[in-house]
Amino acid sequence: MRLIFKNLNVLRSTLNAISTSMEIKGIVESAGNNLPNLFDFSSFGVFWKEDLLLFLYQEESCPPSFTQEVLKNMVNVFSTLGEISLRVDQIKLQVEKKRLRPKQMVMDPRAGLKSHITLPLTVEGEILGCISLNSDQPNAFDAQDLQFFSVIGYQMAATLKHFQRFSSIQNIAIYDTLTGLYNRRYFEERLGIETQKAFYGGTPLSLVMVDIDHFKRVNDTFGHAGGDQVLCQTSSLLKGSIRKKDTVARYGGEEFILILPEANLDATFVIAERIRRLVENTPFEIGGTKIQLTISMGISNFPTHQARSKEELVKMADEALYEAKRGGRNKVCIFGEKLFREVKP
């Protein structure tokens, strides 16, 4: 009876650790750290369907052949439960080894998988993955182990589902659904952070406002679906042309905006000009038809243009973009410079 109470207490703290984890890896670690107090096992696995990711938390002396057997078994079980055919080579494996047994009980290098309990992680009839306890000993698990493990599985599934929902809400909140770029709301938030850093830290910050030239003609000729394709292709070009620390967002319609932290005016102009040329030289494909498009861009920079707020910085980039349009399009214009800079080929 005392043993059951002890186990229930361990179970309670395991469940608590799982439910307060903030990411999948955290859930696995919380469970992995607590499970040795409840079960004798060689390896504990969590398979997460969405990313085809298998976390294995296992005894330090686990031989690679045992790991492979566990992997194979979990893939087989999940294929049966998920009614899909999964291959072992599709799985991304993350192994963490811990000492789970006393030194004198290290695993035989030829140890094989002798028993396991594998349970689906299900919520509301949907399968999210599976969890597994594995041992090199035959009949290592009994009915009570199964009961405890299923309670842990239930809590993990609920927490993982919560993550999934939260991340999809977060995605909707910050990403533009068509292009996959950040949306305007996120841009405003990011710009707030970057301007604070620039204004108080005295580091340069540039904004580049981008607009697709004659986009209305694309919509009129190819319809809105064609227009959407152009927006997506332009987004890919922009995304591929910026540095890791930069942000590119869809500002609205056919307008995009780039935040370039720590970029001075000259560097920003070089980047913008490179993007302009890239778009000019890239054939856009709409339903089998190839067309050429251009973009216009406006640049504002801190501290060059002495903006006192993020709103002012955006306004300056917008005015520069207007100048680029007025000057004939397919141009990069810097705020306050009436003459366009000479572009060296």
Binding site: E83, I117, L119, T122, V123, Q147
Partner: protein, 132 residues
Amino acid sequence: MRTTPCKEKEGRGRSELILELYSNLLLELWEIVSALIGESILAFLFNLAIRKLEGKYPFLESLKVTEEGLFMDGLKEESQSLAPIEIHRGFQSLMNHLSQLFSTLADGVINKELFPKIFPKVKEAERIISQK
């Protein structure tokens, strides 16, 4: 002329008997296995097994399974017109499939708890079917 309705009645009586027997068996299975792996996983496994078999035994589709349990009202209506052997085979396949799934998940842990309780009832169903 009189023998056919009698046989039909007799067959329907046996169908009801088999259905009742398997209904009780499934409820017992639900009780035992849900205590081991929880209602959520068990409902998932039931639905997986039903999906697999409903092509061959369409009447199983009317067995509704949720985390709250098994709902057999539709099943009773659906199986009224079925021969006892058909009901027996359908349920037997369902039990076998579930048993395979339990074994895939937990080696013999679930079946060890289950077999002593359900095996005699499956035998009983077979006995009723084989009665002339």
